[in-house]
Symmetry: C2
Subunit: 336 residues, 2 copies
């Protein structure tokens, strides 16, 4: 298996991107193509004892920065690392692409160069989300700010296939985010989507409220990209708030400070369980290729894990399975 990695992706590129690739090549035995400016990437790669590893560098002279307008940047920067990598993926030279760069840029270049899977209305960005019992799969987290019911239905179909294949969840429980568990609650969008979810042949378990998401009441949770983005970022912010308050209150008390030192191992494990880096990145579902979008703040471990996510998606044949499910759904019209 050969995976292209955006060497100029993360906020601190190329260091985490290159180191993460080295770790992944070593741990997973996958072949890596680092896509980026050769003059920057090669010296970075030389810092690691990676000569025996299956890592090559593919030159791309430009970078799409985090603050650039995605579509405009993708159009004007034909030699940007993510644009070049998407074309390699399209040509079949690699099996997947991993980038911690501008997520809008990834989305735009994936749509432009890979195209959508036949029948898919809108691709969705996704995230693995920690819960009490493990994790859940949330989409869309930002690709489509305003959605139609059909988009959400397709997110549910694609998410269910992904959870079953790549995350190993049998008969994934699919839910939609709402402002109440009751069926008569929900925005117009939610109320119009629920009937579609009920008749999609999915294991649809109904509406979930905000509090049900971390509680782990569902395996696949669909929502529009606006709400999904608020959910992901608020969770990040809430964790930071809570851990910050804990630190503050402990620091204010000498005895508690001693206590916290004794509980250091427990806190490290808590941080690990809540850490986005454990999940590495979210798959971009609906485009015709395996693309994993990582967090801009990714470090080497996060990049390595994102490459692991890509590997799992390729290994489990997620893409052909999604193609089939969407095609089957198009030929079997929803019964209402």
């Amino acid at each position: 298996m050969k995976i292209a990695v955006d060497a100029m992706g993360s906020d601190a590129y190329p260091h985490p991107d290159v180191e993460g690739s080295v770790l992944a090549a070593r741990e997973y035995g996958v072949e890596i193509v680092l896509v980026g400016n050769r003059e920057v990437v090669e010296p970075e790669l030389a810092k690691h004892q990676a000569a025996s590893l299956p890592i090559s560098v593919f030159h791309a002279s430009q970078i799409i920065e985090m603050n650039e307008h995605p579509a405009a940047a993708v159009r004007s920067k034909r030699d940007a690392s993510m644009v070049v990598a998407m074309q390699m993926l399209k040509r079949g030279e690699v099996d997947a692409f991993v980038s911690a760069g501008n997520s809008g840029g990834c989305l735009a270049s994936a749509i432009f160069y890979l195209g959508r899977i036949k029948g898919v209305e809108r691709p969705a960005l996704s995230s693995i989300f920690p819960t009490r019992s493990g994790h859940c799969f949330l989409l869309d987290i930002g690709a489509n700010t305003d959605c139609k019911p059909l988009y959400l239905q397709q997110f549910a179909i694609m998410g269910s296939v992904y959870a079953e294949r790549a995350l190993g969840v049998a008969k994934p429980r699919v839910a939609i985010v709402s402002n109440g568990e009751e069926e008569d609650k929900g925005s117009i969008l939610v109320q119009e989507t629920v009937p579609l979810l009920k008749t999609s042949g999915l294991n649809f378990v109904g509406n979930v409220e905000g509090k049900d998401i971390p509680a782990g009441l569902a395996d696949v949770i669909v929502t529009d990209g606006f709400t999904g983005n608020v959910i992901v970022k608020l969770s990040e912010g809430a964790a930071k708030l809570i851990l910050g308050i804990i630190k503050e209150e402990i620091k204010a008390r000498p005895l508690a400070t001693v206590g916290a030192a004794l509980a250091k191992g427990a806190f490290a494990q808590v941080a690990k369980r809540l850490d986005y880096r454990e999940y590495g990145g979210g798959i971009l579902l609906g485009v015709d290729g395996v693309v994993i979008v990582g967090h801009g703040r990714s470090d080497a471990v996060a990049i390595k894990n994102a490459i692991g996510v890509a590997r799992k998606a390729v290994d489990s044949n997620v893409l052909p399975a999604i193609r089939e499910s969407i095609a089957a759904h198009l030929t079997t019209p929803t019964q209402e």
Copy 2:
């Protein structure tokens, strides 16, 4: 000052509602009218040494339960505690009303019996939300699932008046929830609302992402009732998840368990800072009366604090100030 309290409001009524009222009468010196079934409320009140306190009972034979359809229940149960209390408030027999009951029922009965403030399109439910530096004021958290830009503009105007008067924030920083800080981000609703917020004479500081809310980047945060509901409930769920994981990891380690015992005081203070009960309840803004809606899971302390919120709203003349601001805004059309 005389405050009506729904004696049949909380999930565990009448115990927390009555005890909270006793605590409030004692601590704040306010007069309380407990509205509810006399046969239930009077024996409950008798359990407290409250004979010398200014607490009376006003009979209402019916209850709107948590699972009832709000509008239908308000229409059919004319002698429900919250319906009776709203009418007392309308007649000017009390200065404010506090209920931890069915929030949809409170909203429906407030709109029906108190009416909206002149010019207000839609009333909004609100919540005080803990942040790194203190708290912020969030609305709408569920009254209006689908919103129009004008609603959000009015939420911002009312929220700003409330924060300034009742929460003592000078020149409150007003923000709107979006899926990115950049001005070109946001749903259609957000993009159409931003120009209205810019020209409303508010201290509008722009778009905030999910992570900026707990970070305390704004004092008044407006959003539609769907997103606001998800924010409030997800925060609750995230806190529960994180504190649950911490407990789990500490319990798994004997040394950490000793450490946590030493840090007990710190954890108690953390819980207090994150506890919704500290804020008691959120004001229902836009109806022509001071109505505070508490959490169904309120205990006596939460009820007492909700009564405190009502007292502050009355004391600081929030209602006439909102009437004025809305009226001023209606006569000064938005410059665009």
